[in-house]
Each structure stands twice: as C-alpha cells, then as structure tokens.
C-alpha cells in the first residue's frame, strides 16, 4: 500500500512537462553548479570543465552528478539534492549537450527525505548550530542530522527540560594530566603507543594525542555540561530540546 502511494506521488511529480523540468533544472544548476568558480551560466565557462556541447549522454551525466568525481572538486550530488532536483539538473545538462528529449522520469536512490518541522522545532534546529554564537553553539560538540562536529557520542536520550539539560551527568568525562597541567578529558582511545582524548578545557575541544608515558588519566572531573551552554537562555534551550526530540532516534 505504501509503495503504491509512493508511485502515485512519483507520477504526479513527473507530470511536469519537459520545459518545466528544464526550467527547474536550470534553477538548480544556477545555485549549485553555475557559480563562475565552477561551471558558469549555461555550463559554458568557469573554473571547472565546460559542460555545454561536450557530447555527454544523459547516463554519463546522471552518474557523474550523482556520484561525483573522486579526488576532484566535483561532489556527489546524489545525497545533497532531492530526487526531483537531481533529475531536473541532469535533464538540463543533457539539454546543453544537444539531447533533444532528455528523460525526465526519476530513477535511482532518492535524496534525503524532507523532515517537516514545526516552527518551534525549526527554531531549535537553527539555534543548535547558530553561527552567531560561535563556539558556544551545540554543534561545536554534537552532530545532528549531518550538522555539527561529532566530539560527543551521538545523543541517545534527550533531557526533559532546560533544568535537566543543565544537571546532565557526564560520567564519561575524566581528568587527564599532561606534565603539570590537569584538564577535563573525553577519552577516545588508549593504545600501547598513543592515548587520544579531547581536551575540554575550552571550546572548541582539542583532540590531543599523547604517548602513554606523558599522560596520566583519572576518573571524574569538575567539568559540567551546564558550563558550556551559557550562550543560550532557557527558552532557547527548550526549543533545541524540542528539535532533538523529533530528530534523535533512540
């Protein structure tokens, strides 16, 4: 039943006429590909290879756009664009290569599913990685939905409210002593030749690699999660928690 519904939606999306799809493709191209440092408007010039009138067939274009070109600046758009946008931009580039009737039916894996967020959750999402807060933002240490630096292990349980977030126990934070200096540490690995941990003294955390002889580690730390979330007020923290509740998969 679910599959059927999906097919119906697919048909509706593909009910666009060719000129409509090409127009959409041009719009996607202008935002993601055309900038003069890359392929230029209509794929004619730029810092990356010319794309117009190269004799590319649609299959080749689809593969290249979807998978990217390894070890070059050409990224894989297969996971970055929606399926409709991907199909449209491939058809558009095909049209630049003289393909008279490019296929406009989607195939292959879909892009990331669109998550519908309430206004409050969307605000929470924006606050989570708000660049105006510099290193004080959550995404300095946490990665959610592909945004942020995964210093901490993935968030598994979302605190009930701002007070619970501030009181969060962090037993995994220990103390590392290098020379005469002790620092709060998040241990990553201890091997025979290297001890690797995050120094949490200040934000952003610094990944340190020490020899086992040069570092001493001890359980417990005076570090508190409440000391690193001061860039947000309680209402903002509540919005962030609300966003996490709809995003975090337990």
């Amino acid at each position: 039943m679910k599959i059927l519904l999906f097919l119906v939606i697919g048909t509706v999306a593909n009910a666009q006429s060719l000129p409509e799809v090409l127009k959409q493709g041009e719009s996607v191209f202008n935002k993601s590909c055309a900038t003069g440092y890359c392929h230029g408007a209509r794929g004619t010039t730029g810092g990356a290879p010319r794309l117009a009138a190269r004799g590319f067939d649609q299959n080749f274009i689809n593969n290249t756009v979807t998978r990217g070109v390894q070890s070059t600046a050409m990224p894989a758009f297969g996971t970055a664009l929606s399926r409709a946008d991907l199909t449209a931009v491939v058809a558009y580039v095909a049209s630049l290569n003289g393909v008279a009737n490019p296929a406009i039916v989607s195939s292959g894996p879909a892009g990331p599913p669109a998550v519908r967020l309430s206004a409050e959750d969307a605000r929470g999402r924006d606050l989570f990685s708000d660049s105006v807060r510099g290193f004080g933002r959550c995404s300095t240490c946490h990665e959610i939905a592909g945004i942020g630096i995964p210093v901490a292990t993935p968030i598994a349980k979302v605190p009930a409210d701002a007070a619970a977030l501030k009181a969060l126990a962090t037993p995994q934070v220990s103390t590392a002593t290098v020379g005469s200096e002790s620092m709060p540490a998040l241990m990553v690995s201890k091997k025979a030749d290297a001890v690797i941990f995050y120094d949490l003294t200040s934000a952003p955390p610094v990944l340190r690699t020490e020899t086992p002889a040069s570092v001493q580690t001890g359980d417990g730390s005076s570090w508190r999660h409440s000391s690193v979330i001061g860039a947000y007020n309680d209402a903002e923290l509540a919005a962030i928690l609300s966003y996490l509740r709809v995003t975090v998969k337990p």
Binding site: G36, Y37, T44, T45, G46, A73, I147, G148, A203, L207
Partner: protein, 563 residues
C-alpha cells in the same frame, strides 16, 4: 660590471634601517610562508647571482604522488629540513639537501562539506612550523599540528563546520609568538568571515575576530538590516606580523553578495568610505587580544569581487624625507596601497594593470572615483576580472633595489548580476562573470618592478598567457617565477633581463623559495597547473594550449665545483 656585494651592503643602511632589513630577510632557513613575517619573499643568499644563474641545474626532484590537484604550497625550511604539503594534505619532511623522505603523514580522507560550495575545492597553500610542530589547515576545516621530529599528530581542532559554512582553511597559518593564526574561505558564500588564533602548545583558542561586526559592535551600522550575518569578508590568505608594534596585519575579502548590493547597502549610502566594514580592507589587530587597532578599507562596497585578502608587505622607507614604518598592499584589482602601518594613514597608491575600467582613479587621500558598478539586468565588460590583476600568489620585495616584483594579468570579465537570496554556506555571488580576453592584444600578462615610494613602474616584461605563481627575490639580484607552460625563469632584478629558464614539465601555480644547507644555496619551485578555480578558468581562454597538471617539487642549485 657587477658591483661587489660588500659595497652594496655597505650602502644599504642609508636606504633601509637595519631593523626592517633583519625582519624581512631570510638566510639559510625559509621559516614562514612569506619568507619572514614581513612577507618579502626575499632571500639574502647570493651564491646564485646574475652572472652564474645560467649554470643552475636540478639538484633533486620530489614527486608527491598526490595528483588530485596542483602543488601550490610554499615549502618551509628549518635547519636543513623541508616541510611540504600537497593538495590533499599529505605532509612530507624532506632532507632539504637530498630530497629523501624523513617522515610523511597522510590526512585521512575527510568528509565533504556542502556539495557545490567552497569546501569542495582541493588545494593547500602551505604549513607553518613553530614550537616543535608542523601546523596546517584541512579541507574539512580542522587545524592540525604534527610533531616536527616524527610527523605524528599532536593536536587537532575544528575551526568551523564545513557542512554548515561550506568553508575551510587551506592557506598557510601565520605564526605569531605563542599562537598560530588562521583565516578561512567562504566569503563568496552566505558566511561571516573571521580570523582565529590558537595556542601552538595546546591547540586551544586564544581569540577570534569577526571581519563583520555583530550587533552593538562598531561598524555593524554599515550593514543594511540583518545582512551582516552573511556579509562575507573572509580573510582567506596569510597575514603579516610586526613584533615591535605587536600588530598582526591581514587583508579581508569582499562583501557578500559579490555583485549585487541592494540587500547589504542602504539606499543613498555615501560610498567614498567605510561601507560594509571591515570587508575589502587591511586591518591591524593586537596580536595578544585580536582587538582591532585600525582599518583601511580599500574597496568600499566591493561590487567586483576584488577582495583585499592578499599578502601584506611590511617595510621601513623614507617617505617625503621622513623614515616611515609602512605596509604595501595590493588587492585583486591590482590597485596597491601604501599605508603607515602604525596608524593606517593613507600615503600613496599605484595601479598595476594596464586595463582598469572599474574606476577612473584614486584621490590624493585614497578614495575611489568614477566607480563603474555592475547593474542588475545588464551585462558589463569590466576590467580587471574576478580572477585578479594578480591572483593570490605573492609579490616579492628586494631591499637591495627597493622594488616590488609582481605578476599582473590583463583579463576582463562580463558581469551579469542577479538578486538571489542567501542560504547559509551556499554560494552567494549573485552574478555570472565569464572571463574575457581584452581585444587587440597579443600578451595578457607581465612581470613588473614597482617602486612603492615613488609609485613608478621601473620595468615590465610581457608574457603571452597569464602568470599565477608567486615571486621570489634574492640578494643575487635575481627574481624568479614560473609560467603556465612550465618554464621556471630568472630575471635581473634591476632591469628585467631574462637570464635563465628551465622547462619543469608542468604549469606553475605555486611558489618558489631559496635556502641553504651546508653552504650550498638551493632554489625550490612547486609545479602543477591548477585544474579548478582561476587556473581552470583561464584554460578556457587559451584553448590551443595545454597547461599541464602535476604535483612535483623541483630543486635547483649550482653544480658542485662550479660555484
């Protein structure tokens, strides 16, 4: 007849005081990206000179094996060891006399940032060496420190999240006392640029300075509405440092959006000074705190993507009878400003390109006049192009001649603005700008010698295509650079005579340095033509030519016994 070197040296103190001389000159080592923190790219070594340069031969060659992009980094040499980074962050410590590998390090393949953003481009402009560490930026926007002796990772810290900002830091960090300072790219995107200082010992942040001031900060009032949030200004190259004044100097990038200003500049704004601060400016920051001491905006309301992110050259010179601490700074338009580096006071300017139609001139107090701005709904042919009268490659300065040596390109572009809205970390240039060759020319670049005090061009040597490699000046009165056809060549610093040339096999988009080991002078040059960005863009202008890719370091010296 060649003047004996000791006579010239004896005469020098009259022209240049010893202090600046010492601070700007390299000797056996090449310790910083710009040679020294004064960014002269000048070596005091004179074993190779105008009379024997014709005998230069390769001493050793090093292939990085990383052919993902060109080798464009400036090598660092300390105590006979060379530290070299390739485009995909492979770092090598090499015996600088023989080219043998002491250690090597490969940065793990990073996760990619936003597809179709600045974070996709692969390149690296160099490492910094200090405090027993080799420090460099990465494509996924970390700053990494390796142990200088072993190449093992010591610390690693995230500068920003490329999955959000679409940005990274691929220029050489600047060492300033106990800190290492990095800028970053992304200023042609919806992004707000900044400089960040980290302690070399621990990797912890010491300070961050935002190019675009936030609400409540001075300068924020020069931005319309909320446009400061994505105002660009990314300081994407490497700055300079004057230890005596304790000031860090840095050039900042263009405002975003590049070619369309209605969302960032209020109607009726006076564009003669201070629009969208502190973009397209030279700034002086306190080295310890990162606090702004002074600024000079070169392109108020930069609508041409002219940046001002380039190198800042510090020197002391007699100006109108008075010894002044000055800095010389060229932006992408080729317009070059001479400022008092203590106060930021404008002293003079000169314009390097022959073709320059975006302004009609500069007033005696440094203001732009006769601006020809891109206009929504129109296409205008404007010169120079966004590729730059000079690209990011550096000039050189010789205290022996008192001249600056710079490559200059004569390329225009057709700018067609649009009024797209910003999306964080995505390109926010708001325009198309294909490069165009100007009509009725047979050469499209030249190497020039300029006197920054008199604003006079001393000599100029034309070249057929474009020049996108840094300059090197030496006390042997030589100026070195390379061209896209693969020639690495030496000019006479006094008159521009071409004295020597060697075909290295691939285009030049990087830098050359000079150093010595056990009394033997070496000259090293990186090779390999850039396949994307400006390097890739100019290939389309000269379809009959093949500017070859690669990633090889070629090191020259006089043959043993011929010195």
């Amino acid at each position: 007849m060649r003047i004996p070197a000791f006579l010239v040296v004896a005469l020098l103190p009259a022209l240049v005081p010893l202090r600046a001389q010492d601070a700007g000159v390299t000797h056996a080592d090449w310790p910083h990206y710009g040679g020294t923190q004064f960014s002269w790219r000048y070596s005091a070594l004179d074993q190779v000179n105008t009379s024997n340069v014709k005998n230069l031969l390769p001493a050793w060659i090093f292939q990085t094996g990383d052919y993902s992009e060109y080798l464009g980094s400036t090598p660092i040499v300390v105590d006979g060891v060379m530290y070299l980074i390739s485009a995909s962050e492979r770092v090598f410590a090499l015996d600088a006399a023989k080219g043998t590998v002491i250690w090597q390090y490969r940065y793990p393949t990073p996760r990619r940032g936003i597809a179709g953003s600045h974070s996709d481009f692969i390149q690296n402009r160099g490492v910094a060496v200090s405090d027993g560490k080799v420090i460099f930026g990465t494509r996924d926007n970390f700053l990494v420190a390796l142990d200088q002796k072993t190449g093992r990772e010591v610390w690693k810290v995230s500068v920003d999240d490329p999955k959000q900002c679409g940005c990274n830091n691929l220029s050489a960090p600047l060492i300033v006392k106990d800190k290492v300072i990095v800028g970053g790219n992304g200023g042609d995107q919806a992004h707000r640029g900044y400089l960040t200082a980290f302690y070399t010992k621990t990797g912890r942040v010491a300070w961050r300075w935002y190019v675009v001031p936030g609400p409540g900060e001075k300068g924020n009032e020069t931005w319309k509405g909320d446009s400061w949030r994505y105002g660009g200004g990314a300081p994407w190259l490497t700055g300079s440092f004057d230890p005596e004044l304790n000031l860090v100097y840095w050039g900042t990038g263009n405002a975003a959006a590049d070619f369309y200003d209605a969302d960032r500049v209020a109607p009726g704004t006076n564009k003669s000074r201070d629009v969208n601060l502190y973009t397209a400016s030279v700034v002086a920051l306190d080295a310890d705190t990162g606090k702004l001491r002074w600024h000079f905006q070169e392109v108020p309301d930069d609508l041409w993507d002219f940046d001002s992110a380039y190198e800042v050259i510090l020197m002391d010179r007699q100006i109108r009878g008075q010894m002044r601490k000055i800095l010389v700074h060229m932006n992408k338009s080729g317009l070059t400003f001479v400022l008092d580096r203590t106060t930021g006071e404008f002293l003079s300017s000169f314009n390097a390109p022959e073709l320059s139609n975006w302004i009609s001139g500069v007033t005696e107090d440094g203001k732009l006049v006769g601006r020809d701005e891109p206009v929504l709904g129109k296409t205008k042919n404007l010169c120079p192009s966004t590729a730059g009268a000079k690209s990011w490659n550096s000039m050189a300065y010789s205290p022996r001649t008192g001249f600056l040596y710079t490559p200059t390109n004569e390329i225009c572009n057709d700018i067609t603005p649009n009024d797209s809205k910003p999306s964080e970390g995505r390109f926010y240039m708001n325009g198309d700008f294909p490069m165009r060759l100007p009509p009725n020319r047979s050469t499209y670049s030249h190497v020039d010698a300029w006197d920054p005090v008199t604003s006079k061009k001393i000599w100029s040597v034309p070249y057929k295509y474009v020049l996108l490699s840094s300059m090197l000046a030496t006390a042997g009165d030589l100026v070195f650079t390379g061209d896209p056809e693969g020639n690495f060549f030496a000019l006479d610093a006094r008159n521009g005579d071409r004295l020597w040339s060697f075909q290295t096999g691939a285009g030049h988009r990087g830098a050359s340095i000079s150093y010595s080991v056990n009394g033997r002078q070496y000259i090293a040059v990186t090779t390999g033509w850039q396949q994307t960005l400006v390097g890739g863009g100019v290939v389309g202008l000269f379809p009959e030519e093949s500017f070859r890719d690669g990633s090889t370091l070629v090191v020259f010296a006089l043959p043993e016994g011929s010195r």
